[in-house]
């Protein structure tokens, strides 16, 4: 059976595409799925750094496309998850080094021996975006509850719909206490504005920076609050009927009550 080919995209940069790709991929691999993560951000690669494999790159995506090496030679096997591989982008080339047809063919090749091909898309809606999307059959649009991210996500949603690529949203860096105070748009607001289904909701968490510093996917560490959340998103992606994570912060009263009970 051929793999699901999913592009993780956003329009705006810095909303968490690479973090989502890394952690969702790791969460799926943890479930035993065969996963390959592909960095298509040619010239600005980062997935290698987030995954902690930056020193192990021998060949990159462009070299595979240009036939300078075998595809399997360019795949970096993750040391923590047996079934997880990474294909790095070229750092010294630009987005035009690869065509849409080449990308589609390459992803098709990777799909043969995997369950998931997760494509980390560059920011923007130009050449790099078109390439990344050409290799995908479905999409995850990552956004944050901020006006600029949502506006850009809306552009991307439009482009994906033009191509008839089914999509779901991940709303990243939500701050529940701000939503409650009316100072941040709610999950429902974002979903309604973009007119798309929500795959997952991820709260803003310091653990992301901490684990990225070390080049370790967050899902590896069970004590990380977000580990369970990514796990849940992976299950929802696989079609499990689970409700979205409830981000409602416990009220001051209930916190006090818990402390009182514990103390």
């Amino acid at each position: 059976m051929s793999a699901r080919r999913i592009v993780v995209t956003s329009g705006k940069g810095g909303v968490g595409k690479t973090t989502t790709t890394a952690n969702l991929g790791a969460a799926l691999a943890k479930k035993g799925r065969r996963v390959v993560l592909v960095d298509t951000d040619i010239g600005l690669r980062n997935l290698d750094l987030v995954m902690g494999v930056e020193k192990r790159i021998v060949f990159d995506l462009v070299e595979v496309v240009e036939g300078r090496c075998q595809l399997r030679q360019a795949l970096i096997r993750d040391k923590r998850f047996e079934s997880l591989k990474i294909l790095a982008a070229a750092q010294t080339r630009d987005k035009t080094a690869v065509s849409e047809e080449q990308m589609d063919k390459l992803m098709g090749e990777l799909a043969k021996s995997n369950d998931y091909v997760i494509i980390d898309c560059p920011a923007g809606i130009e050449h790099g975006f078109r390439n990344a999307v050409a290799g995908a059959r479905e999409a995850i649009v990552v956004t944050t509850p901020e006006v600029s991210a949502i506006r850009d996500a809306d552009r991307v949603v439009g482009k994906l719909r033009e191509r008839e690529i089914p999509l779901q949203l991940i709303i990243n860096r939500v701050r529940p206490e701000m939503v409650k105070a009316g100072e941040m748009m709610s999950i429902e607001d974002v979903g309604e504005i973009l007119g798309a289904d929500i795959l997952g909701v991820i709260p803003d968490d310091e653990g992301v920076i901490d684990t990225t510093n070390r080049g370790e996917p967050l899902v590896l560490d069970e004590t990380q609050k977000l580990a369970a959340i990514y796990g849940r998103i992976a299950r929802r992606l696989e079609g499990e009927d689970l409700p979205l994570t409830d981000l409602d912060p416990p009220s001051v009263f209930s916190k006090f009550f818990t402390m009182w009970k514990a103390g």
């Binding site: 949502i150 607001d189 007119g195």
Partner: protein, 150 residues
Amino acid sequence: MFEFFKNTEVFKTLFGRESSGATARERLRLVLLSDHLALAPDVVDALKAELLEVIARYVDIDPEMAEVTFEQRERELAMLASVPIKSVRKDRPSAPAQRTANGRAHAPLNQPPRRRRRRRRPSPAAPPNGAPSDGTLLAPPGTFESSAQA
């Protein structure tokens, strides 16, 4: 009563400004609409203003309470207007009024020739009887006159 008060500027200034989350949502709705339609935000504002102006020509509305919003449906955008009507306008424009003459309820309002004839005929005692009997369900006799002349 409270619902009404809640929407007034007085309330908003007394109890702090509108939450920024709600502001973000409305600003986004507007900017995405103009992105989708390739219309500038000020054009959308003008559209709203003109829409209300047209409605106000026929019915007496409260522009302060009127809301024109855009909603993202499954695949397309929808424009929703919620315009509280205070009353039917006493001085409706004449051309469209002729069109409503076909409507039964409005018919008596749009037959000035017959009214004039009747008014000339009877003694001074007649008008009080005649005017209300014309079936002015929508407006008192005074306003009835003005609508006929319009």
